[in-house]
């Protein structure tokens, strides 16, 4: 640790916290291979267990949170993290909308635990996997499963410069147009969640000849009803449409509502 004699470190401090997740979003920080050494020149990463043994106490200027809240311990921890972080940013689909593990939210979690574990009584877990914002106020949310490392870089640069990060909230369709992709739905009848999904990936799946599966979660004002109607026109069954909305951002309210509508419609029929 820096001695008292050393010049005061003016760099903003960053802490990286992990909740229920796959580690992929925080890994994005290390995936900024070319920029990494410049980043650590501009900010002081003081708590990042995946990368360092040094774990300094808060308060921190920026707290980056990966993962969703799934245990009692995590529910307490997120309160501490909020108290210690001047600015709190969620990294990716788990922290922003509960992640793939939010699929438990429509099932009996005790039954699920019994499916996976031999002695379920050792497992302490919550019924729901919830996003950070359901527990504490969040200052900024980075979408994606995983996040775009360039959006992370933009967020850090903007924060250091004292400006608002330039992160678009329009749909994947805009990125497809910009890449000159032929629309898969129009040309091939491929179901694609692009129209209701927030941009950020660079229209990756359509560029690889597959429909978008919505890993950046709902865009600002998604017309999910029209999306459902379109999927039905393309011959998709309601269980298929339900599953399409229930992946990595299943608990984001717009996707959640859409999937429940399809599910209930199915039951009503």
């Amino acid at each position: 640790m820096s001695s008292k004699k050393a010049a005061k470190d003016e760099r903003k401090t960053i802490a990286v916290f992990k909740f229920a997740s796959c580690d992929g979003c925080q890994l994005s920080l290390l995936e900024l291979e070319e920029e990494l050494l410049s980043i650590v020149g501009a900010v002081n990463i003081v708590y990042f267990p995946e990368a360092s043994r040094v774990m300094l106490k808060g308060p921190y200027d920026i707290g980056l949170v990966e993962g969703s809240v799934t245990t009692h311990h995590e529910a307490e921890l997120i309160q501490q993290v909020r108290r210690q972080s001047k600015m709190l940013v969620t990294l990716g689909a788990c922290a922003t909308s509960g992640g793939i593990q939010a699929l438990r939210n429509w099932k009996d979690v005790n039954l699920m635990v019994r499916t996976v574990y031999r002695n379920p009584d050792f497992i302490s877990t919550l019924k729901l996997s919830t996003p950070v914002a359901e527990h504490v106020p969040v200052d900024f949310e980075l979408r994606g499963c995983p996040i775009s490392k360039y959006q992370l870089l933009e967020l850090l640069s903007a924060t250091l410069a004292g400006r608002k990060p330039n992160i678009p909230t329009y749909s994947v369709c805009m990125e497809c147009k910009r890449r000159d992709n032929v629309c898969l739905t129009v040309a091939q009848g491929t179901p694609c969640l692009g129209p209701v999904t927030q941009a950020g990936c660079g229209a990756l799946c359509p560029s690889f000849n597959r429909g978008c599966y919505g890993c950046f979660g709902p865009m600002e004002s998604p017309n999910t009803d029209a999306m459902i109607a379109l999927f039905r026109n393309l011959g998709r069954s309601d269980p298929e449409i339900t599953r399409a909305f229930r992946t990595f951002s299943a608990w984001a309210w717009q996707f959640r509502q859409a999937s429940e509508e399809c599910e209930h419609e199915r039951k009503a029929r």
Binding site: C22, D23, S52, H73, C145, S207, R210
Partner: protein, 438 residues
Amino acid sequence: MSAKQGKSAGDGKPIKVDYLARVEGEGGLYVQLKDGQVQDVQLRIFEPPRLFEAFLEGRHYTETPDITARICGICPVAYQMSAVHALESILGTAIDPAVRALRRLFYCGEWIESHALHIYLLHAPDFLGYEDAIRMAADHRALVEQGLRLKKIGNRLVAVLGGREIHPISAAVGGFYRVPSKRELCALVDDLRWALDASIATTRAVAGFPFPDFQQDYEFVSLSHPDEYPFNEGRVVSNRGVDISVAEFGEHYVEQHVKHSNALQSRSKERSSYLVGPLARFNLNYDKLPEVARQAASECGLTVPCLNPFQSIVVRAVELIFACHEALRIIEAYEPPPAPRVEAPVCAGVGHAATEAPRGLLYHRYEIDSRGLIVKARIVPPTAQNLKRMEDDLWHFVPQLKDRTAEEVTWQCEQAVRNYDPCISCATHFLKIRIETG
């Protein structure tokens, strides 16, 4: 319960690491000593359970590679590969030879990216005495830059095939959604040639690190293929005479509930803990390595069997050489397949597959119904298989550290765990978790 035991046993101070750094995921370490004798070793895993096997039930088989990738952000390709092979074995899909080659190439990218991450950013700081690679870069900038560039090249390879480095989107049952052109792959050749040289340099550099004098009589387990260093297929073999098909894996290697750790840990049925990963692959498949990799290994005095787990960093570097060499070989021979993927009619059944994730053998088993929906899933990740072995290493390693300070012992124990490049995020989707409150 164990907290009480800990207190009553305690003459010596326990070695405690509440939060293991430079591993993927959340785990802690607890070693209880009495009169220099180890009383208890616990790798405490407090990574929250995510229940993947449970919520895979009822999903369509085609979604499986995308969903299982999310078990691990560091080795998503491994999860996609084990999943597609297991499902293809149910459907009887015969993949095109070019697709097979592309999958090996995909894996090369992940090995390069993951091994470079571990060697340079996670493990090397232990040997050179730094808290992390960022602090190490202050004195060894060229070394860290070399590691970052290697990692970037691995990532680029994954991205060319899969669209992005983390949770790539192109792998599918039957092949890929899109396959690259020859030209796209050839654009990687210069970088890969540099990476091959850098890997040889890496091997030499890490072979010069100071290694504790520590050897164990391991049971090594890995895939084995008659002609290739193993990635996507082969039989499961061990140096204790095991030679079985992947479908028999579940009969020979079982998970047990161990009282002192409250964690499900894999063991071989007849014996006990075993080791998967680079050390196992190297020792069991040395003759399948290309000449350039074997030569670098022997120059550095690395011979078969290598029984010192601390030298796994050198073995990882040798595997880097292999992965770069193999990638170049595949690109040179590549001709795009007639179709990116083949589709087979859905049928009910059970399928198994194992592939070699960077950290070791990754086993998947699926049962699907006639609609293609998953009825049952089972996933055994490499770190879960190595957990018991990590604890066993500590049982034997700690007594060697008698004269060291507490801080040194703690650091060395952490290093001994990091030898395995553990990925706790992977392991925990089925591990027993208990947070000790008492």
